[in-house]
């Protein structure tokens, strides 16, 4: 369906990534946000707080990130599309409720404008060191989706995509920005509402008598249908291991069925692959990057190609689930993957694992606080080519 025009600020704007992300939330139909202030992410909800009373909806500033990350889920079960926004220390506090959203299959969006860590780290400076936390941070086995914009325009576009995927798969989706993308200002084009596709909630059409909250329909979909409070369904939702009725059932059998489905609905999905590729054909070296680092990598790739090296580009747009098949099929055809990222080795582990030894994997780490010098990436490309 098309976006609700009330939330779409159609036009050409000069926006930073945080503000563009907020416009993406509004365009996607989010009418509820709960947040707690934290640099460098707060501008997203500051703009939402300013905009939402003129669009129709609610923003609430909660007492901490524990509250913010569960408050939004109450709003979702009340019938709203909802999100929260944070950065490293707040993201750590939200892990419990990312698990709750995964377990209860609550569609929602968590935006993380990444800064340097660990702990309080570098509040005002960038990093990409929460990538593994996004995937594995809450306890237990589950699947999530993580998206990595590299520009304010993508902060708008991919935030809408994040909401759409969260509704399609009933899963928390992480928008993994970073401080530079969040604070850089560029042209952002917002189309008219009728040009924006918005995925509606997977609401049940069954009567209350026939409805079971966690029953899959037998049509092959692993995503059950949802109902909201106040509609007469009188359903039960729990973070405990539960059966199709939503009732606690803590047996080995039900645990196996439930947890395998929560993982499989993401891992087996065919359409959860999104990347940007250039010059992969005949490449000797492929640079794998995402977020702000992909823009530094672009310069390094251009410099290396100017020297005559056969360098390809693979930019991850959806980082989780990891595009394992893409790397696996590419590995035997190239000498090496070069993986620059603003951490000391996170997504590179996935590249190396997926390559299965068929190509070298060279990490270009950076502890955060700035971005790479392109020369550091060029140097790694030259070494990889040897």
């Amino acid at each position: 369906m098309h976006a609700d025009p009330a939330g779409v600020l159609t036009g050409t704007h000069f926006l930073d990534g945080d503000h563009a992300c907020c416009e993406g939330c509004l365009a996607a139909g989010a009418r509820f946000a709960s947040g707690y202030p934290i640099t460098p992410s707060t501008e997203v909800v500051e703009r939402f707080a300013s905009r939402i009373p003129t669009v129709g909806g609610t923003f609430i500033q909660m007492e901490d990130e524990l509250a913010a990350s569960i408050c939004l889920q109450g709003a979702v079960w009340g019938g709203a599309k909802a999100f929260t926004v944070t950065s490293g220390p707040g993201f750590s506090l939200m892990m419990e409720h990312i698990g709750y959203a995964a377990m209860t299959e609550t569609p929602c969006v968590f935006v993380n404008v990444q800064r340097g860590g660990p702990s309080t780290g570098l509040p005002t400076l960038p990093a990409q060191a929460d990538m593994m936390q996004a995937r594995w941070g809450s306890h237990g086995d589950y699947g999530i989706i993580a998206i990595c914009p590299n520009s304010p325009q993508e902060c708008f576009d991919l935030t809408i995509k994040a909401f759409n995927l969260s509704e399609q798969y009933r899963v928390p989706v992480m928008v993994m920005m970073d401080e530079v993308v969040g604070h850089m200002t560029e042209k952002v084009v917002i189309p008219s509402a009728d040009q924006l596709d918005v995925t509606p909630r997977k609401h049940t059409h069954k009567s209350p008598a026939d409805y079971l909250p966690y029953q899959c329909n037998g049509d092959g979909s692993l995503v059950p249908e949802m109902a909201h409070a106040g509609e007469g369904y009188k359903f039960h939702i729990t973070g405990l291991t539960h059966d199709e009725r939503g009732y606690p059932n803590m047996t080995v059998k039900v645990q196996d069925q439930l947890v395998r489905r929560l993982c499989a609905k993401i891992e087996n999905a065919k359409d959860l692959v999104a990347y940007e590729a250039e010059n992969l054909e005949g490449a000797d070296v492929v640079v794998v990057s995402y977020g702000i680092t992909s823009r530094v990598a672009q310069r390094a790739i251009d410099q290396a190609r100017a020297q005559g090296l056969k360098v390809g580009k693979l930019r991850l747009i959806i980082a989780w689930p990891f595009p394992e098949k893409v790397i696996r099929e590419l590995a035997p055809k190239v000498k090496a993957f070069v993986v620059p990222e603003l951490n000391l080795g996170q997504m590179v582990r996935e590249v190396e694992r997926a390559a299965r030894g068929a190509a070298k994997t060279i990490h270009v780490g950076h502890a955060g606080g700035g971005v790479h010098q392109p020369e550091a990436i060029v140097k790694a490309i030259v070494e990889a080519n040897q």
Partner: protein
Amino acid sequence: MSTIPINPVLPFLRTDRMPTIWCPGCGIGTTVNCFARALLDSGVDLKHLAIVSGIGCTGRVAGYVKLDSFHTTHGRAIPFATGLKLANPKLNVVVYSGDGDLSAIGGNHLIHAARRNIDIKVICVNNLIYAMTGGQTAPTTPGHVITSTHPYGTFDPNFNLPHLVEAAGAVYVARWTTFHVRQIARSMAEVFKKPGFCFIEILSPCPTLYQRRNKMGDGLDTMKFYKEHSKIKNGVSTSEVGLTRNGDIIVGKFVDRDRSDYLTMAHDQFVEALGDRYVDECAAECCEEGI
């Protein structure tokens, strides 16, 4: 042939989930019975009534009542309920949880929801202990009590919950024990119709972990203790209702006052600041009826 009359509260319960997990002599089931009575007596619209629990013995209540019911994470029933209510204001939202869940791990949310005067009804079953996890000290455990984490007796001071929530801003504060079943049901029916943040504390026996370890008898002995030691003092200052191990239990309706709730204050502020530009719509799309 005579027929056995159906218990009038049964339609409010998920009978397919019985028996409950609660121990013999536990008071939580008594409070649920009172809750069902209050639903029956008040005529509250069940379709728009949602119940939210945290974690613990009382946290299981949401799973046993036939309403839209949410068993959330430890301590977070109140912020979940806040989102539910603010997104869909037509809902009447009840938080039903225990003393440890609401006042220890959830203590920050308790005081802030009271401060904001979120229109939710909090029912706090206080058994003075962490029961689900085996009898550890709670913020409500009185002094000189044996618990599994204070094997030589508690010594850190306990919360006086009515005083705490009154100070934080609650508009309705009452306390009863599970001996006071009619008063509990009456208070519950009252808060369904009272706008703003309402708080009912219900003292309840935990014969398995509190009374047994402290040689205080069983559930029946505790009911006798409640009967003999409860003093009804409606309107008394909440500063005077702190609990001790063997002392009197002051019960009654302590606070019943009016002030604007969060959504009303938000609405008024937006009207003042934005005038015609304010779009007074709730966040939930499906606010009206089921699809």
